[in-house]
C-alpha cells in the first residue's frame, strides 16, 4: 500500500517539478482528448436524437400495429367504430398490454371554415411516440369523463386558432362541438401544419354529431410490447379482435425501426467522427512520446540517485509510467471539462437543438466522458512505457557520475 502511494507521490512530485515541460507536452493530449470526447459525444447525441426522431415517427421497439378493416363494403357507422374500439380495449385488457393506443383520424372543421386533421389517440400515445407538450399536458384517463372533449393542439393549429401565446384552457369549436385545449405540442420545424389530438371515442362522438362519421378513417391498434413478445403478441391481439368483430379484416405487423434488421443509419457518421478523433489522438500521443523520450535522457542522474537510495528497477519503471498516466489523465480530464463547458454554452445548445423542437437535448453523454478518460489513461500508459524502459535501462554508476 505504502509503495503504491509513494509511487503516485513520486509521480506527482516529478510532474510538479517539470510542470513547464509537462504542460507543453500535454497540450496536444488535452486537445486530442477533447476532440475524441466531442466526437463520441456528437455521435451519441446524433444517435439519441435520430433514435427519438425515428421512434416518434414509427414507434419504440417493439411497436405492433393492427389495421381493422370494415366488415361491410359501405363506410362504417359511428356504432361500427365504437364496436372496434370496444374490441381493441378488450384485447388490450386481456393481454395486459402496458402501453397501447387505439388510433383513428377524422377531418373536422376547426375555425372559420378551416379543416383540421384530428387524430384520435389514447393517453399512452404520448409516451409511445415521445410526444412532449410545451405547455399544459397531454390527454389523460380522466379526460374520458369530460362533457366537453379535451384536445391537444400543435403550433400550427394554435396559429389557425388566431395565434397568440401557447395558452391552454381555452375553448374552441371543433366539428361544431366545444372542446377544451389542455396542452400544446411544439415539435419545432415542420410543425406548422395544424394537427389536433383527441381521445378516439371523442373523435367518433364529435364526427357523428357533425354528421361526418363517414370521414373517420382506418381504426388501428398500436401496442408497445417487449421485443420477445412481438411475434406472439401480434398474432394473439389480431385473433382476439377478429373474433370480436366478425367479418372484419385485421392485418398487422411490426412498424418500429428495429423491425428492419441490420439497419444502422448512424454507423457511417459515427465511424467518420471516431476515425478523425483517433488520428488526432495518435498525433497527440506521438508528440507526447517524443517529448517524454527526450526529457527522460536528461533525468538519468536522478534515476541513479534514486536507485542508490533503494529504488528498484520496477519502482523506477512504475514512477515514470505513472508520471505519464497521471499527466495524461489530468490532461484528459481538462479536455473533457472543456468539452462539457462548450456543450453547455447557450449558443451551442441552440445550434444542436435547431430543427428538433419537442425533443429535449440530453445531458452530456457520460459514455463520452468515460471513453475520453479511459483513452487518456491508455495513451499515458503507452507513451509512458517507452521512457520508463529507457529509465530502468540506465546504469546507476554512470548515472551518478553523469
Amino acid at each position: 500500500m505504502t509503495d503504491v502511494v509513494a509511487a503516485i507521490q513520486d509521480a506527482w512530485t516529478e510532474l510538479r517539478i517539470h510542470r513547464g515541460r509537462v504542460l507543453m507536452s500535454l497540450i496536444g493530449v488535452t486537445v486530442a482528448i477533447a476532440a475524441l470526447t466531442a466526437s463520441v459525444a456528437v455521435g451519441e447525441l446524433a444517435r439519441s436524437t435520430l433514435l427519438v426522431s425515428m421512434e416518434s415517427n414509427r414507434g419504440r421497439p417493439a411497436t405492433l400495429t393492427l389495421w381493422i378493416g370494415p366488415a361491410a363494403a359501405e363506410a362504417p357507422s359511428a356504432a361500427d367504430h365504437v364496436a372496434a374500439l370496444d374490441a381493441i380495449d378488450a384485447a388490450v385488457e386481456r393481454y395486459g398490454v402496458e402501453y397501447a393506443s387505439a388510433r383513428t383520424n377524422a377531418h373536422l372543421a376547426l375555425a372559420q371554415g378551416m379543416g383540421v386533421q384530428v387524430e384520435g389517440v389514447e393517453p399512452d400515445f404520448a409516451v409511445m411516440r415521445h410526444l412532449g407538450v410545451a405547455e399544459g399536458r397531454f390527454l389523460v384517463e380522466s379526460d374520458r369523463a369530460r362533457l366537453a372533449p379535451a384536445i391537444v393542439v400543435n403550433r400550427g393549429a394554435l396559429d389557425a386558432l388566431g395565434g397568440g401565446g401557447m395558452d391552454v384552457h381555452r375553448t374552441v369549436e371543433i366539428g361544431g362541438t366545444t372542446a377544451v385545449v389542455v396542452g400544446v405540442v411544439d415539435r419545432g420545424l415542420g410543425d406548422e401544419w395544424p394537427q389536433v389530438w383527441m381521445l378516439p371515442r371523442d373523435v367518433v362522438r364529435v364526427a357523428d354529431a357533425a354528421g361526418t362519421a363517414g370521414t373517420i378513417s382506418g381504426m388501428q391498434l398500436e401496442a408497445w410490447v417487449p421485443e420477445e413478445m412481438a411475434e406472439d403478441g401480434l398474432r394473439m391481439l389480431a385473433q382476439d379482435i377478429r373474433s370480436a368483430l366478425p367479418g372484419s379484416t385485421v392485418d398487422g405487423n411490426r412498424q418500429d425501426w428495429q423491425a428492419f434488421e441490420g439497419y444502422d443509419p448512424l454507423l457511417p457518421l459515427q465511424l467518420t467522427l471516431v476515425g478523425t478523433a483517433v488520428v488526432i489522438l495518435l498525433l497527440g500521443a506521438l508528440g507526447l512520446i517524443t517529448v517524454a523520450v527526450v526529457s527522460i535522457r536528461q533525468r538519468v542522474r536522478e534515476f541513479g540517485i534514486r536507485r542508490a537510495f533503494g529504488a528498484s528497477r520496477g519502482r523506477i519503471f512504475t514512477a515514470v509510467m505513472l508520471e505519464s498516466v497521471v499527466g495524461t489523465v489530468v490532461a484528459g480530464a481538462i479536455g473533457i471539462a472543456l468539452c462539457i463547458f462548450v456543450y453547455r454554452l447557450p449558443v451551442v445548445q441552440q445550434t444542436l437543438t435547431q430543427g428538433i423542437g419537442g425533443v429535449e437535448l440530453p445531458g452530456f453523454p457520460m459514455s463520452a466522458a468515460i471513453t475520453g478518460l479511459l483513452v487518456s489513461a491508455a495513451v499515458g500508459a503507452l507513451a509512458g512505457s517507452i521512457p520508463a524502459t529507457i529509465a530502468v535501462r540506465s546504469k546507476v554508476i554512470e548515472a551518478i557520475r553523469f
Binding site: T2, A6, I17, R307, A308, G310, R313, R315, V396, I397
Partner: protein, 233 residues
C-alpha cells in the same frame, strides 16, 4: 561484529576493441560496525569501482561480498535494492541532489523506498535530520539555491535519514573549499558517530583520509595499509 566482508573481489570490464580491463584484482576488506575507514588512491586506481561494489550498486566479477554475513551475490536484485536502501547511505562528490526538490524533499527521497511508517513520517524525519546538520532554516529552499557546503550538508542528512549502518562517502569534500570541506568532514564524523554507522571514505585528499582509524591505499587493484603521514594543518 563484521558489517561488510570482502574476500578476493575482482572486477573487470569488457572493452570494445581489446582485452578486458582488470580494475580490481583481489580486494580483501572487513568493515566493522561503527568503523572509520579511508581508501586513498590515484585517479583511475579503481576507488569508485570499489565504492560501487561496497554499496551493492555493482557486482564483482569474482570473489565474495557479504553484508551481515549474507552473501550479496545470492540475493535477488529487488532484495539487494531494498538492502542497499536500508543499510547504506551515500555521500557523493557532486552532492547529487535532485534539482527541483527542496532541501527537505531531497532528504526525504530515501524514505520513499523504506518501510511504511518511515514514509508517512518523512516530513518530520527530514526536518529532524536537517536540524542535526544545522539547516533547519533552509528546509524549503530548493537545492539549486543552496551553497556548495549547504548542499553537501543536505546530502549528509539524506545519507543518514534512514539510519544506515554503513555510510559511503565518495570524495565528499572534492567540490568544496578547504575550510568548508573540513567543517563538512567534522559534521560527517559527528553524525555518523551519533548514528553508530560505519564510515568508509574514498578520497585522494590525505588530510581527509587521516581522520579515519584505518587508511588503506588502493594500488594495482589491491588494498594495502597506508603509512600515516603527518599532514600540515
Amino acid at each position: 561484529m563484521t558489517l561488510l566482508h570482502l574476500r578476493g573481489v575482482t572486477r573487470q570490464f569488457a572493452t570494445i576493441d581489446g582485452p578486458a580491463l582488470q580494475i580490481l584484482k583481489g580486494v580483501d576488506l572487513d568493515v566493522e560496525a561503527g568503523d572509520r575507514v579511508s581508501i586513498v588512491g590515484r585517479s583511475g586506481s579503481g576507488k569508485s569501482t570499489l565504492l560501487n561494489l561496497l554499496g551493492l550498486i555493482d557486482q564483482p566479477t569474482t570473489g565474495v561480498i557479504e553484508l551481515d554475513g549474507e552473501p550479496v551475490a545470492l540475493m535477488r536484485a529487488r532484495r539487494r535494492d531494498r538492502l542497499r536502501g536500508a543499510s547504506v547511505g551515500f555521500v557523493f562528490q557532486q552532492f547529487n541532489l535532485i534539482d527541483g526538490l527542496t532541501a527537505a524533499e531531497n532528504v526525504a527521497v530515501p524514505l520513499h523506498y523504506g518501510a511504511g511508517r518511515a514514509y508517512w513520517r518523512r516530513a518530520h524525519l527530514a526536518r529532524e535530520m536537517l536540524q542535526r546538520v544545522g539547516l533547519e532554516h533552509r528546509l524549503d529552499t530548493r537545492a539549486t539555491h543552496l551553497s556548495g557546503g549547504e548542499q553537501q550538508r543536505v546530502a549528509i542528512a539524506r545519507a543518514l535519514v534512514r539510519r544506515p549502518r554503513l555510510i559511503l562517502a565518495d570524495e565528499p569534500t572534492g567540490a568544496l573549499d578547504i575550510e568548508t570541506g573540513a567543517r563538512t568532514m567534522d559534521l560527517l564524523d559527528r553524525v555518523a558517530t551519533d548514528a553508530g554507522a560505519a564510515l568508509v571514505t574514498i578520497t585522494h585528499d590525505l588530510a581527509v583520509a587521516s581522520r579515519a582509524r584505518r587508511v588503506l591505499r588502493l594500488v594495482d587493484g589491491r588494498l594495502h595499509p597506508h603509512e600515516r603521514v603527518e599532514v600540515p594543518a
